[in-house]
């Protein structure tokens, strides 16, 4: 049973090695990737079931008791996010295989993509499952180094700079992360999260809040919260659609996850946390305004991504069970919907040959299926009922109204305004790209950069992958009842860290 906790990390790690070895056998790489990522979905579903029914599943690696060794732990939150993420990585893999087959034929292999992609998945899984602060850093490194390779793949002169922006900002935040870990270890002598919970609370107030805020900044850079978000809209649009999809869907949310985990488990809730509400509001509005100022479809989606990070910060700022329930629901919703949107953007640009909205038109007639595939996640993201964005937003609004402070009311109002701006932004995409007279596809200056592939062709696999993700977000809305319940239970776990601590450290919490 406990092996289930390690498999989501080990399987893709090992598969990555194999995939690299079979670099010239396209089909073997593809089957390997799909089987492994498919297996992780099943694995994650099992973990979620067990964690929900029997409590957290803990694996002490090497048999060393915590806090000596490294702890892997799957509680409700980790298992739930792992499940959603694995669905996304699976669908994105199908999409990119479809894209590759459509563009280069079935026999063409992709030496580095598959291994690195699997590595990325391993890093994401580890980030969710680890119960150790330093190991979380390692997970981030696996994830990020893979992402550096993926974002600079097939790089062209124009794309070097955005790739570098991404890489250097990420490295900066990694250095900062490492520094924080050093400070934490210096002050407490442990890096086990459950153990830290006890030890950090023994520190003087100033040190606690300073550490907590530093950690928030570290994860805030990854999560792209304003004012640490600048790198995201400058770099994400410059990667191929499936890469951006998985980055947008997962990487920022891993940052949010780390923030939730550390802020609930390790640090005490304190008054400075009110600051988070202001940041949430700022993130929402700055992101949404940024989206309105764009003509580049991908850049617009990137700004919307930033904007909706604000919703998650909102729930985190409210900091009670209802708020965290809302955050969890929002994360689950947003992982799928943002990935879907970027995949569909890939489909759109294949028909238009350009990302410039002003040069698109008439797609609803030319590609009706793409129109449907766009409209579902677009409405979902805008929080139009009955889709998942509405459910998650509702949970957050309720939490904000229940919190009853003026700050919370203000952010709830901001959330509503952001919804409006989001809808306006995506409706403008509809109006410009899908309505109007069909435009001649713009000539794609370089079809091989995979950034914009204006060939006008889409393969069934790409449509199916986008469709599966769109259907997943619809399913999230349909299953909102059980999902809200499990998120609620996960939020209770978070607010009362005892379950987690006991599971890791055994009966006498505090070790």
């Amino acid at each position: 049973m406990t092996a289930l906790v390690a498999l989501p990390v080990l399987l893709p790690l090992m598969a990555a090695g194999l995939s690299l070895a079979f670099g010239r056998f396209a089909d073997i790489q593809r089957v390997l990737g799909l089987v492994v990522l498919g297996a992780i979905i099943v694995n994650a579903a099992l973990l979620l079931y067990v964690a929900d029914v029997h409590g957290p599943i803990v694996l002490q690696l090497g048999g060393w008791p915590a806090p000596l060794g490294i702890t892997l732990i799957a509680d409700r939150l980790a298992a739930l996010l792992l499940l959603v993420s694995s669905v996304v990585t699976f669908a994105v893999l199908i999409y990119s295989i479809g894209q590759r087959v459509a563009d280069y034929g079935r026999g063409t292999s992709s030496t580095t993509f598959h291994p690195i992609y699997l590595m990325l998945c391993a890093g994401v899984s580890l980030a969710y499952l680890t119960g150790d602060l330093f190991n979380l850093f390692v997970a981030f490194e696996i994830m990020l180094s893979s992402s550096y390779v993926l974002i600079t793949r097939r790089t062209t002169a124009t794309r070097v700079r955005p790739g570098m922006t991404y890489t250097i900002v990420s490295l900066t935040s990694s250095i900062l992360f490492l520094t924080v870990i050093a400070l934490v270890y210096a002050a407490t002598g442990t890096v086990n999260l459950a153990d830290l919970a006890q030890r950090v609370s023994e520190l003087p107030d100033g040190l606690q809040s300073s550490l907590g805020l530093l950690m928030t900044i570290v994860f805030g850079v990854k999560a792209a919260m304003v004012p640490l978000h600048f790198w995201l809209p400058d770099s994400y649009p410059n990667a191929p659609a499936p890469i951006t999809a998985v980055f947008a869907g997962l990487l920022t949310k891993v940052g949010i996850y780390a923030m939730i985990r550390t802020q609930t488990l390790v640090f005490q809730h304190e008054s400075t946390w009110q600051l988070m509400l202001a940041i949430a509001l700022l993130t929402m509005i700055v992101g949404a305004l940024g989206a309105l100022a764009q003509d580049d479809l991908n850049r617009m989606l990137s700004f919307l991504l930033v904007s909706h990070i604000g919703y998650m910060l909102f729930g985190l700022g409210v900091y009670d069970i209802a708020g965290l329930t809302g955050v969890i629901l929002y994360v689950v919703h947003h992982i799928t919907v943002q990935a879907t949107l970027f995949l569909v953007s890939g489909l759109i640009t294949r028909h238009t040959g350009t990302v410039a909205l002003s040069r698109m038109g008439g797609l609803a007639k030319a590609a009706p299926l793409v129109a449907v595939l766009f409209s579902i996640p677009a409405l979902t993201l805008s929080g139009v009922p009955p889709f998942s964005g509405f459910v998650a937003k509702l949970a957050l609004l309720q939490a904000g109204v229940d919190a009853g402070t003026w700050a919370a009311y203000g952010v709830a109002g901001g959330a509503v305004l952001t919804s409006l701006l989001t809808l306006y932004a995506v409706a403008r995409v509809w109006s410009r790209a899908f309505w109007g007279r069909p435009q001649e596809p713009a000539g794609d200056p370089d079809p091989s950069d995979e950034l914009v592939v204006g060939t006008g062709t889409t393969s069934p696999a790409m449509m199916v992958a986008s469709g599966v993700l769109a259907a997943t977000s619809v399913l999230i809305a349909v299953a909102a009842g059980p999902l809200a319940d499990i998120s609620g239970r996960a939020a209770v776990d978070l607010m009362h860290g005892e379950t987690y601590r006991t599971a890791v450290l055994g009966g006498g919490a505090g070790g």
């Binding site: 190991n135 002169a157 570098m164 600048f230 329930t325 509702l394 409706a427 309505w435």
Partner: protein, 811 residues
């Protein structure tokens, strides 16, 4: 009821396939679900009017208060008859209007049916959140129906305006719903009506919800989306913008008035905005030349009228409101369909072009006259009954009530005026305008228009039926000793006088249309809602571009600076203001640390000042060796060894890379002011880190159990005499696996880049056929310049941007 709503949506999903083959069949099929809903509802009418209520409930997300609850009560009954009944008629009218093979028709069939479904859900919903769900869905349907193909700019702009305005209202309303629901602990409307919550939140909820209702029902100052939406095909306007969707706002107010009985703002706001809307829009309608726009302003005006009634919160108000709701749905849809026929057969709906149509289309006149009579409030129509009741509501109160009544009379004068203008404009012989040619419309167009027009008269005559329905809804309100009943004749009373004044005034207004238009030309319009909308959207664009342009600098140094500043500002402040002083501060442990530290600091200063790349790299090396030296002094020779090795390797790698880069840094020097800013941030960051490490190291309260355990268990448990080794390969072996993976990833990435450039070169020389390049390595692609040439200056030293030292820092 759920089955009814779902059947609409399911059929709508399948409808595009039918519509692609046969549009007429598609509309016929589309009419079936609303017809079923109508039959089902009428079948239960007796029971519902007898006091029974039919409820269906299905849990969705109970934790969030989301449940799918439908309830058929008198108000829902009335709305369902309107929504489904008019829906059937409009769908049957569509084939004749669109004609076979019309793209708009193909598009509209499924959308109209889907709209009928969500509208049905909206009126049956007994849960605030469910109301919101359907509410927004009607908006989305309207967006697509107004925009149609979106070919013309006008279509796109009108659709967008309707969307933005109504979604804005919807979202504000959602916030109101949440405030209300959280205050009451339930979102179930019937429970809220039975036990309205109190408290300060109610006033906020009332205002928020009313904003939603006002936008949807096109009340001032949000009304302009409705006339703009008249670019939609006429059946769409008849259905959405006359009979159903725009009614959602007044319907919601009618639903919630009992809940907000204790909130003073509720009736005041509905009365003020409703009255204002009724008068201003009525005045506008008097001057329109486009018959459809005239009707649209008429709709806005009438919705204002109904808003005043349903918001009043009295028994008579409820009776009058429901009667007017029904009357307006019937006559307005009939008139829209009539105008559609005029447009379809005569090719114009401009008053200045139409002349003599009355003689050519006599049947159309037969339909239009009773409908317009109902609109004007002439007996024996339903419109008359409603208007009589409406005057009655406000005739027995104080000055405020009397003012409202006077306003209603003024509004009614305009209503009569534009009703006359409509009939005159569409059918009259106008001197100086040549008689308009027109085809004779088929029965398929005439019948759907005739039904609601005649229903308005029939229901006026058999008024007890409507009265029963109205009274059933009004039963929530206190009736008093002598409750008002709808009737054609109440005797000679004040209400009748008001009706007469309205009628006479309206006819005068119509007769004096030329001077009135001249007067209007001189009036300055102080509140032009359309311009206000356009200005605010333009402002939004400007703010968006302005903010983003300022915030998103696109410069990496700026981004890094902001990250560092945030660290300093946020956690530096926390550390400074709230931390305890450092105890046991020692400047150094061993004297040798001092010269090393000084050497490192000098090297740091040198790096910053260096102009040549090689100098900078060498100085960075000095820093690394210096740190290695500190490790030696602290008694960690293995760590120092690693540090030296890595430092040397890095230097060697750098030197290889530098061969291909310009000797000097090519970036021009920043402005002196900027230099200072950069320096401040850098020094601040360094000082913060130095202090933080001192403070945190001295803060440890209890000895680290972990490190003691490591030392204790290394030999026995891990079989290692070197504790560091034991940590790396046993205690925390998983970290090591992870870091090795990171190295493997980096190596793969670098290899891929190198292979790319090699293949690129070979391909350029033509030795590698294009089909094979990707087989060898996927990165080998044409135009892949970045990896082939030298890395551009200023983008980082290492192709992967990874600093190899990073892997080692943890040791």
């Amino acid at each position: 009821m759920l089955a009814l709503v779902v059947s609409h949506l399911l059929v709508a999903l399948a409808l595009p396939w039918v519509a692609a083959r046969n549009t007429r069949a598609a509309f016929t099929v589309a009419a079936l679900p609303p017809a079923a809903a109508l039959v089902w509802t009428l079948g239960h009418a007796g029971a519902v009017l007898g006091g029974q209520e039919i409820v269906e409930s299905l849990a969705w997300a109970p934790r969030l208060g989301l449940e799918i609850t439908f309830r058929l009560d008198p108000l829902a009954l009335l709305m369902t008859v309107l929504v489904s009944g008019i829906g059937v008629l409009v769908l049957l009218y569509c084939p004749g209007y669109f004609g076979p093979g019309s793209a708009d028709g193909r598009r509209s069939a499924p959308l109209l049916l889907a709209f009928a479904g969500v509208m049905l859900g909206l009126v049956l919903a007994d849960d605030l959140l469910l109301v919101y769900v359907f509410w927004e869905l009607t908006t989305i349907c309207s967006f697509l129906l107004v925009g149609q193909s979106g070919i013309s700019r006008e279509q796109r702009r009108s659709a967008m305006q309707a969307l933005v305005v109504t979604i804005f209202g919807g979202l504000v309303m959602l916030l109101g719903f949440v405030v209300l629901g959280e205050a009451a602990g339930t979102y179930r409307i019937s429970e809220l009506v039975a036990d309205p919550p109190g408290g300060g939140a109610m006033a906020a909820a009332a205002v928020l919800i009313l904003i939603g209702a006002f936008t949807k029902s096109a009340q001032l100052p949000f009304h302009n989306w409705l006339p703009a939406a008249m670019v939609a095909p006429t059946p769409v306007s008849a259905y959405l913008h006359a009979a159903s969707m725009v009614k959602a706002g007044v319907f919601l107010v009618a639903r919630l008035t009992p809940v907000f009985a204790g909130v003073v703002a509720w009736p005041v706001l509905t009365a003020v905005f409703g009255l204002l809307t009724m008068i201003v829009a009525g005045w506008r309608a008097l001057h329109e030349y486009d018959l459809k726009i005239l009707l649209a302003y008429g709709t806005v005006s009438q919705l204002g009228f109904v808003m005043v009634l349903v918001g009043a919160g009295t028994h008579t108000g409820a009776v009058a409101g429901t009667a007017m709701l029904l009357a307006h749905g019937l006559f307005k849809s009939a008139l829209f369909l009539v105008v559609g026929i005029v447009d379809h057969e005569a090719g114009s709906r401009d008053i200045r072009e139409l002349s003599g149509l009355g003689r050519r289309l006599p049947w159309l006149v037969v339909i239009a006259v009773p409908a317009a009579a109902s609109m004007a409030g002439l007996p024996p129509t339903l419109g008359f009954l409603g208007k009589e009741a409406a005057f009655e509501v406000f005739l027995h109160g104080g000055a405020g009530q009397a003012a409202i009544a006077a306003g209603l009379v003024l509004g009614s004068v305009f209503t009569v005026g534009y009703s006359a203008r409509l009939l005159w404009g569409a059918f009259a012989n106008k001197p100086g305008i040549p008689a308009t040619a027109a085809h004779a419309p088929g029965a398929g167009l005439l019948l759907p228009a005739a039904v609601p027009a005649l229903a308005g008269v029939v229901l006026g005559v058999v008024y007890p039926a409507v009265d029963e329905l109205s009274a059933a809804y009004a039963a929530v309100f206190e009736a008093g000793t002598d409750p008002y009943h709808l009737a054609l004749w109440h005797g000679l009373n004040l209400a009748l006088l008001c009706s007469l004044i309205a009628l006479a005034g309206g006819l005068v207004v119509h007769a004096a249309r030329t001077p009135i238009t001249r007067v209007r030309g001189r009036l300055v319009n102080p509140l032009n809602a359309q311009r206000a909308y356009e200005r605010s959207m333009a402002l939004l664009e400007r703010v968006a571009v302005g903010v983003t342009g300022r915030v998103q600098a696109g410069s990496l140094p700026t981004y890094l600076g902001i990250i560092l500043l945030t660290v300093l500002a946020v956690s530096g402040t926390a550390l400074l203001t709230r931390s305890t002083p450092i105890e046991q501060f020692r400047a150094w442990d061993r004297i040798l640390q001092v010269p090393l530290a000084i050497a490192i600091l000098i090297a740091v200063a040198g790096v910053v000042r260096a102009r040549r790349r090689l100098t900078a790299v060498l100085l960075v090396g000095v820093i690394g060796y210096g740190i290695g030296g500190i490790f030696i002094i602290d008694g960690a020779p293995d760590l120092a060894l690693t540090q030296f090795l890595v430092e040397t390797l890095t230097l060697v790698a750098f030197v290889f890379v530098l061969r291909r880069l310009p000797v000097r840094f090519t970036q021009s020097d920043p402005a002196p002011g900027l230099r200072w800013v950069k320096m401040l941030i850098a020094v601040g960051g360094g000082v913060f880190m130095a202090f933080a490490s001192m403070i945190f190291s001295s803060a440890r309260q209890t000895p680290s159990g972990v490190s003691e355990q490591y030392i204790a268990r290394a030999e026995q448990g891990a079989g290692a005499t070197n504790v560091v080794n034991a940590i790396i390969v046993d205690f925390r072996a998983f970290d090591t696996i992870g870091e090795i993976s990171v190295l493997a990833v980096a190596a793969t990435g670098v290899a891929s880049l190198i292979l790319t450039s090699r293949h690129e070169r070979r391909r350029r020389r033509g030795s590698l056929p294009i089909t094979e390049r990707s087989a060898a390595d996927e990165s080998a692609a044409p135009g892949n310049a970045g990896a082939a040439g030298p890395i551009r200056p200023g983008t980082g030293e290492d192709p992967q941007g990874r600093d190899p030292r990073q892997e080692e820092v943890r040791e």
